[in-house]
């Protein structure tokens, strides 16, 4: 079934009887060509592109809970291609280009909205770094503009220009960056994959891998054994837990990141703004809530919740940047489990076990990466060669000394 304005009108006039399930709920088959573990954004996107780009439709996505319940369902919805390093920027640029055509491609309105992202700078050194980054973005085909303080003021006159502890000196503007209705991404990919024959199996937990003679033959699940030529793990914050069942230790720690939304407000803010002198970034959703976040709670955690000090830290940043928010109220907070890697960059790679593949280490950048992650993971699964823009995302890069460390923080995951 194709979605369209016309279809909506027709259904409205005929009692909405024609809408079908957005995806089926099949029982698992005995075996598949590819079993993807994890029905989050990346897993569903991988299934979609396996079917669409590579004609592989004998594919299952198995999900412990409900699809889209991980970080694709609990993030701050930002998409961007504003990375610095060679190993990253081409990948994120591919991702942004895929976002730009995604809705027409999978026939689902995910509300991709390129509202622009402004990273504020507060020191000369930050401006130097922004210039280097902006140039790297442009050299990789992305877009960037360096604004001075007047340029920032023209965009957002209500920021604190008068008595800020760390005065705003300018910003790096990435106009193609923006926001997306996050849940819709999972649903759109699920629907697209399902229509092409992929089985999406919810409430099915992986309990182990069947590995014989160095070859992965399938997964043991709460719904029984499911055989597979290839098993693809794609479980973000649960990466260590799942891969541990295959005997692997990963260069990943799981950390909690909180995010927040305010009560609905009439238009306040058009684009995304990140504060460069504290932990705060904000955008306004189409519904009117200010969606904002900041830094990790810093300690390892598998609890989807955080503590008060970080809430205070983030909202202090909000008030420092936008003193007019004093009487705006935070409505809801939530926490997501981030698969923080040792250099802040992800992995899309084969493992040392034949037939077992790994995708993870997205830190808190996983949402924007969703299309390219699925695209490149599907490419790897289908062809057994890494996609060229994801070629650096290898598990052995630390052994080789080829870190992709955007923030320059070294092997401490919570600092990335």
């Amino acid at each position: 079934m194709r979605y369209s304005g016309l279809k909506v009108i027709k259904e409205a006039l005929t009692g909405h009887k024609g809408w079908r399930p957005t995806w089926r709920d099949p029982e698992p088959k005995n075996s598949y060509d590819v079993v993807i573990i994890g029905g989050g954004g990346h897993g569903l996107a991988t299934a979609y592109y396996l079917a669409k780009n590579h004609g592989l439709t004998n594919v299952a996505v198995i999900e412990k809970g409900w699809i889209g319940g991980g970080n694709v369902g609990r993030n701050t919805t930002i998409i961007r291609s504003n990375y610095l390093l060679d190993g990253n920027e081409p990948f994120y640029e591919l991702s942004l280009k895929l976002w730009e055509g995604l809705e027409q491609d999978f026939n689902y309105n995910a509300m991709v909205s390129q509202r622009g992202i402004l990273n504020l700078v507060h020191t000369d050194a930050q401006r130097d770094a922004a210039r280097r980054r902006g140039n790297a973005m442009i050299l990789n085909g992305s877009d960037a503009e360096l604004l001075d303080v007047e340029g920032v003021r023209a965009m957002y006159p209500f920021l604190n220009f008068s008595n800020a502890r760390f005065p705003i000196k300018g910003g790096l503007l990435h106009r193609r960056g923006g926001t997306v209705r996050h849940d819709a991404v999972a649903w759109g990919y699920a629907r697209g994959a399902d229509l092409r024959g992929v089985d999406i199996i919810q409430n099915c937990e992986v309990t182990g891998f069947r590995i014989e003679n160095g070859k992965c033959l399938g997964v043991e699940t709460s719904k029984g054994f499911i055989g597979a030529n290839k098993v693809a793990s794609c479980v973000a914050g649960s990466s260590s837990r799942v891969m541990e069942k295959a005997g692997m230790r990963l260069p990943i720690e799981s950390h909690v990141l909180q995010a927040f939304v305010s009560e609905g407000l009439k238009p306040v803010l058009d684009g995304v703004v990140t504060f460069g002198a504290g932990h705060f970034y904000v955008s306004q959703s189409d519904k009117g809530g200010l969606v904002f976040g900041g830094d990790l709670d810093m300690y390892n955690s598998y609890a989807q919740r955080g503590n008060l000090p970080v809430v205070e830290d983030v909202m202090e940043g909000g008030m420092a940047l936008m003193p007019m928010l004093g009487r705006v109220r935070m409505l809801r907070s939530w926490g997501g489990i981030m698969d923080m890697s040792m250099d802040g960059s992800p992995f899309i790679d084969k493992t040392h076990i034949d037939g077992l593949y790994f995708n993870g280490g997205w830190c808190y950048g996983g949402f924007k990466a969703t299309p390219a992650s699925g695209w490149c993971y599907a490419h790897l699964l289908a062809t057994d060669t890494p996609h060229k823009v994801a070629a650096a995302y290898r598990l052995d890069r630390f052994r080789r000394g080829c870190m992709i460390d955007e923030k320059g923080q070294g092997a401490q995951p919570n600092l990335h």
């Binding site: 020191t123 050194a125 609905g264 009117g288 705006v328 080789r400």
Partner: protein
């Protein structure tokens, strides 16, 4: 909620004996109530003036004045009135106050009335009565759950250019004024043995029991009047009315020094290890905070035990057009009548599936309000006195454009009857307020007998639940649970408490037959009134396979409004369960997350706003520098002098060039106190530093300083500085300003965790010493005038890289280091911080004859770039010693942090980046930090990228712009002309690759 024996005709009085309000313009004002009839308060709503009374909320005062229409819904802009009498209110949201104090989305039900209150309705245009956007309601059939996911996709560009701007403009509820909030907020910490959350009968009894036992108790309630449902009901406790009993207990608690009673305080979240967040609204009930007082306070309450006694929230029944102003929860109608002496209308009907709803009828009748019918879904409903009972009936539709006029009832026999009523009091039963029990790992469990979820699973550490929050709804049960809960909690702390004789109270059982929605009717029956989610939407979600509760919520937006579904989630769940053919507990619940009710940015930020956002650290010479008119710059939390403008200088470059040239030509002075300083002492100090630095330190002689490079364990260079050996067992280490804390932390890690038995002690002395760089050819001459004469600091006695303890200015203790960042003959001299101000004055005075200049961070930066010294821009966390041109410094003869992993092949490639300098081919061209490097010819692209410029400055010595940065094989390309490209700003400069040591490459000056 607590149960009550109906006490018809009883009137509640305040404990202070004051009477309720009298009738006036307030057409719906009744007798009695817990308001102060003697004190009238004037207020405006949408510009119209009204009067209410002390003790009113905005909602009760508006109802008293016959105002039912208070808002518009989010999507369909349906006219809405107040549904509840508490913080769960979804409909009656207003913009309170104006200007910088304008406060969107304020629930009229919790806005305490004050004289001069100003409120406006929101999400409507041009007026609340005539809202243009109500057109949406006509198209509701097209605007069903998730319709927007299926359309607005063609043409592709139209989403962002046409559809979305329209949607965004229409979206949102209240608006902000864009003015800064003028009020102050505070934060504080509180500690207690027992935190009691909620001051209804359960909480009051618990606090009383614990307080009498001498425990440290905090009792908090979001309401301004303690007592909870006791204030809303008519039954008594012992010989007193419920309200009077509550007031008496509150008075006893207030007199106990070990009890802190906190009205107007919402516990917003249960965090780890017994820590609770609480927001106290200190001044939201007055026009403006008293001078010097905060508006609100965020308390972090550290409790040994906590008791949740948060009561319960009534839930509605969904039926067609159940959202008209006048349709209210039955318990709320009762609360308005009993506590606020208000009826929403002169004719009221009741619609219920449980006994509790009947109390509303009884209480209204007792107050003289006409109850046109009691419509009970149960065929065996109990009798009602004074009103007609329609048993086995249900409301199938309502009428009334901007307010309820008629409820259409399907009777048990299948016939239909119109019941006239201006208000319909609806009760679908009560849900325990389990929210805080779920903030961690608690997952509620279904209790069939009360048809509600109660707390279950792993509750937050040391939390117990009692009373209605636990599903025990009668007053007697509440009192008992409160007392026993307190005794149990305290006994775990070793405090003996007694559950004293409990007063007598009603103990009625819960009689409820689950009834979630009326199936008759083709129209819409609202579940989430604010977000306009109807029963149909839930059915559509089910049809489209959004069947998990989380999918349901996200697809329909059920429960995502400002009330977070406090009155709507349960209905949605029940309907989903029915559609899926499951039991309610099988469907599960969505997560409750902090905050319990929304919390302002202001209170979470507290005093950390404006210039006080973060602490400001000032250098010892700050005051003096201010006197000189210095321009300051933020360096982390430090404020440092950036340059010192002189009269006649109109551009910062003039000042900086002068400072550089005068330093290089004579002498300049700079406050370098911000550099980290670490005192390292002990027998193994040298061995320890040998591990910390990449280069060797073990053999550094006493009286000498050595430059040191520190690596992270991954082999990346992260800090550099110096270590000065003052004795065999005593070193003074300096770090960069940015890494002072990190280096110290890492050294402590090595000392305690890696080498636990090395004899070495560390202390950070960054703040203990004021340190000044004195640089330039006349530096020694200047210092010889300041350092006491018994110390020989001649070149021979105190050569380059020497250090020693001296005295200055006639005996003041000081440390002298002959080190140079500028490349000149230079020293750094340190004195105890308290003499820093005196020292800068002394140095400047002594330097007068040489024309000594103070120089700021800009000149410092220019001189270090001229000298090719790496700083933060070069030590960017991705560069190794090899990249910095210091690869050979990394000693392979010893262990050190980072040694092993620095040898990985990826960090030692042939085309590795190397630090070099750049000079423009055309002297007038600027060199810019952040430019990327490309070969002289060929494509400009990421693939051909050769590196980047890290730092750049105008060199007054060379008369041109210069830069340093990282270039592939840079050290082998000296003399090559390449391009520095800056497409970001449309610039490209041809530069020559040169040594990074622009000035005095042989280092003769610093040895002179």
């Amino acid at each position: 909620m607590t149960d009550a024996v109906m006490n018809a005709g009883a009137m509640a009085f305040r404990a202070d004996g004051s009477n309720g309000a009298r009738k006036g313009a307030q057409v719906n004002r009744l007798d009695g109530g817990l308001i102060n009839g003697a004190r009238k308060l004037g207020f405006t709503f949408d510009g119209t003036r009204y009067e209410g009374h002390e003790g009113d909320t905005l909602a009760s005062a508006l109802l008293a004045n016959g105002v039912r229409l208070m808002g518009r819904s989010f999507k369909y802009h349906r006219p809405r009135g107040v549904l509840t009498s508490g913080s769960e209110e979804p409909n009656a949201l207003v913009e309170l106050r104006s200007g910088g104090r304008q406060e969107p989305n304020t629930r009229a039900t919790v806005a305490e009335l004050y004289d001069g209150l100003e409120a406006n309705s929101q999400n409507r245009w041009p007026s609340l009565q005539h809202d243009f956007m109500a057109i949406n309601d006509r198209f509701s059939n097209f605007l069903t759950a998730g319709f927007y996911y299926k359309t607005f996709m063609w043409p592709a560009a139209f989403w962002e250019k046409v559809y979305e701007p329209i949607i965004r403009k229409a979206a949102g509820l209240g608006s902000i004024s864009f003015e800064a909030d003028p009020d102050a907020y505070d934060k504080g910490f509180l500690h207690c043995d027992l935190l009691v959350i909620g001051a209804g009968p359960t909480g009051l009894m618990a606090a009383l029991t614990a307080g009498r036992a001498g425990a440290q108790v905090i009792i908090a309630d979001e309401d301004f009047l303690l007592g909870g449902r006791l204030n809303a009901e008519t039954f008594g406790i012992g010989d007193l009315t419920g309200a009077a009993w509550g007031a008496q207990v509150q008075a006893e608690l207030a007199a106990m020094p070990n009890v802190r009673v906190m009205p107007r305080t919402t516990i917003i979240g249960a965090f780890d290890h017994g820590i609770y967040g609480a927001v106290e609204r200190v001044a939201d009930h007055v026009l403006a905070p008293e001078a010097g007082k905060p508006r609100q306070i965020l308390w972090r309450i550290y409790s040994k035990r906590a008791m949740l006694a948060a009561g319960a929230t009534e839930r509605p029944i969904a039926f067609e057009n159940n959202d008209r102003p006048g349709v209210m929860l039955a318990g709320a109608v009762r609360a308005y009548a009993n506590r606020w002496a208000v009826t929403p209308d002169q004719t009221v009907a009741v619609f219920t599936n449980n006994d509790d709803g009947h109390r509303t009828a009884a209480d209204l009748i007792a107050k003289g309000v006409k109850v046109t019918a009691v419509i009970d879904t149960r065929t065996d409903a109990p009798k009602v006195e004074g009103a007609e009972l329609l048993a086995g009936a249900r409301v199938i539709d309502t009428k009334g454009r901007l307010g309820l006029e008629v409820a259409q009832v399907r009777l048990a026999d299948g016939t239909t009857r119109d019941v006239p009523c201006g208000a319909l009091a609806v009760s679908g039963g009560w849900n325990p307020n389990v929210h805080l029990t779920c903030h961690q790992r608690g997952r509620p469990a279904w209790r069939e007998d009360i048809a509600a979820f109660v707390p279950a699973g792993e509750l937050p550490q040391n939390m117990s639940v009692a009373g209605a929050a636990n599903g025990d709804f009668s007053t007697a049960a509440a009192l008992r649970a409160g007392a026993e809960g307190a005794v149990a909690a305290l006994s775990e702390l070793g405090i003996e408490a007694k559950a004293s004789d409990l007063p007598e109270a009603e103990d009625a059982p819960v009689n409820v037959t689950p009834f979630w929605y009326v199936k008759e009717g083709k129209g819409r029956a609202w579940l989430d009134q604010q977000n306009d989610v109807t029963v149909k939407d839930v059915k559509l979600a089910h049809q489209e396979n959004f069947r998990s509760v989380e999918h349901l919520k996200r697809y329909t937006t059920l429960g995502m409004a400002t009330d977070q579904g406090k009155t709507s989630n349960m209905g949605g769940l029940a309907i989903m369960a029915e559609l899926a053919g499951k039991q309610i507990p099988e469907v599960g619940t969505t997560m409750f997350r902090p905050p319990y009710t929304p919390v302002s940015f202001g209170v979470m930020a507290g005093r950390s706003v404006g210039e006080e956002f973060r602490p400001t650290r000032k250098t010892p010479s700050h005051k003096w520098a201010e006197e000189q008119g210095a321009v300051f710059v933020e360096v982390g939390q430090w404020l440092r002098a950036q340059w010192f403008p002189k009269a006649g200088e109109t551009h910062w470059r003039q000042s900086v060039d002068r400072e550089v040239l005068q330093t290089r030509n004579s002498v300049g002075i700079c406050d370098v106190t911000t550099l980290g300083k670490i005192d390292v002492q002990g027998k193994d100090a040298a061995e320890f530093l040998n591990m910390m630095y990449a280069n060797a330190f073990a053999k550094l002689p006493v009286g000498k300083v050595r430059y040191g490079l520190m690596l992270r364990e991954d082999g990346i260079a992260y800090d550099d500085g110096t270590a000065a050996r003052f004795a065999e067992d005593h070193f003074v280490v300096t770090t960069t300003t940015a890494n002072a804390v990190l280096v110290y932390r890492n050294m402590e890690f090595a000392r305690q965790c890696l080498f636990p038995d090395m004899d070495v002690q560390l202390i950070s002395t960054t703040e203990a010493w004021a340190q000044f760089a004195v640089a330039g050819p006349n530096a020694r001459k200047l210092l010889q005038k300041v350092v006491d004469p018994e110390f020989d600091i001649s070149n021979e006695a105190f050569p380059f890289m020497g250090c020693g303890e001296v005295t200055v200015a006639g005996g003041c203790r000081a440390r002298l280091f002959r080190i140079s960042f500028s490349g000149e003959l230079a020293y750094e001299i340190a004195v105890p911080t308290r003499y820093g101000d005196a020292m800068i004055r002394k140095l400047m005075e002594a330097g007068e004859e040489f024309g000594a200049v103070p120089y700021g961070t800009e000149a410092l930066g220019v001189m270090r770039i001229e000298k090719g010294h790496a700083a933060g821009n070069e030590l960017n966390g991705t560069t190794s010693a090899l990249n910095l041109g210091m690869g050979r410094m990394v000693s392979k003869k010893k262990d050190c942090i980072g040694n092993v992993l620095s040898e990985r092949p990826g960090m030692n490639q042939d085309d590795a980046l190397k630090l070099v300098g750049f000079r423009p081919v055309n002297a007038g061209d600027p060199v810019q930090a952040g430019a990327h490097l490309m070969n002289a010819d060929g494509e400009v692209s990421a693939a051909t990228d050769q590196g980047y410029i890290t730092s750049a400055a105008y060199s007054p010595v060379l008369g041109c712009s210069i830069g340093i940065g990282f270039l592939k094989r840079g050290d082998a390309r000296l003399g090559e002309v390449i391009r520095a490209v800056n497409p970001l700003e449309g610039k490209e400069t041809r530069v020559e690759v040169v040594s990074a040591h622009f000035v005095d490459p042989e280092g003769e000056r610093l040895r002179g």
